[in-house]
Subunit: 134 residues, 2 copies
Amino acid sequence: MIGRLNHVAIAVPDLEAAAEQYRNTLGAEVGPAQDESEHGVTVVFITLPNTKIELLHPLGEDSPINGFLQKNPSGGIHHICYEVDDIRAARDQLVASGSRVLGSGEPKIGAHGKPVLFLHPKDFQGCLVELEEV
Amino acid sequence: MIGRLNHVAIAVPDLEAAAEQYRNTLGAEVGPAQDESEHGVTVVFITLPNTKIELLHPLGEDSPINGFLQKNPSGGIHHICYEVDDIRAARDQLVASGSRVLGSGEPKIGAHGKPVLFLHPKDFQGCLVELEEV
């Protein structure tokens, strides 16, 4: 069912400093900051040869990242995203096997303009797992 | 400096259950469990089309994963590993820019038989970062 690892998302307290570190200290290809107001985050994508790192920073008081950064003030790895061919078929199969989908269970459009869903961390070794249809 | 994302490591309380979930529920290619006694872990590698997931389980009472699982009983994402061409050159450049290397600072041989180093999470947005020479 799962295909490529689309990205690893890292929540960061200082987006500018994190982007600068990946660009200058780690020598990676770092894109511009993009506000994703419907998701309550500002994101910076880092393009590695085989996958992406997504730096996440809260946008607005209701950002889903605020609680994570309160618990992890230095930042931390927030989620991993696997690609799937058919997100509704993947969801139905996962739900049938007892896994929980966060929110309404209906895919939303994610930061790449593709349908995404998040799975319950308690059902996946404590990891927040995003599925993205590609 | 950094190249491919070599793997994402997930610490898990039940290695058998996690491997079974990736194999049967998520339909991924899951390898056999391997004891890495010098690192205090048992690992299972999951091969995705573009990178790997490393499931980590403590091996022995001094395992470096024990503390993590005490804080995160359901498990969680433990570290990410970036590939570098020359690990000593990468280390020297990082140390010169103020980053801290864990342990003695000398590379050890990792689970893939290649030299590895770990960087201080406080210097990298709360993420434990492994570098592996390829």
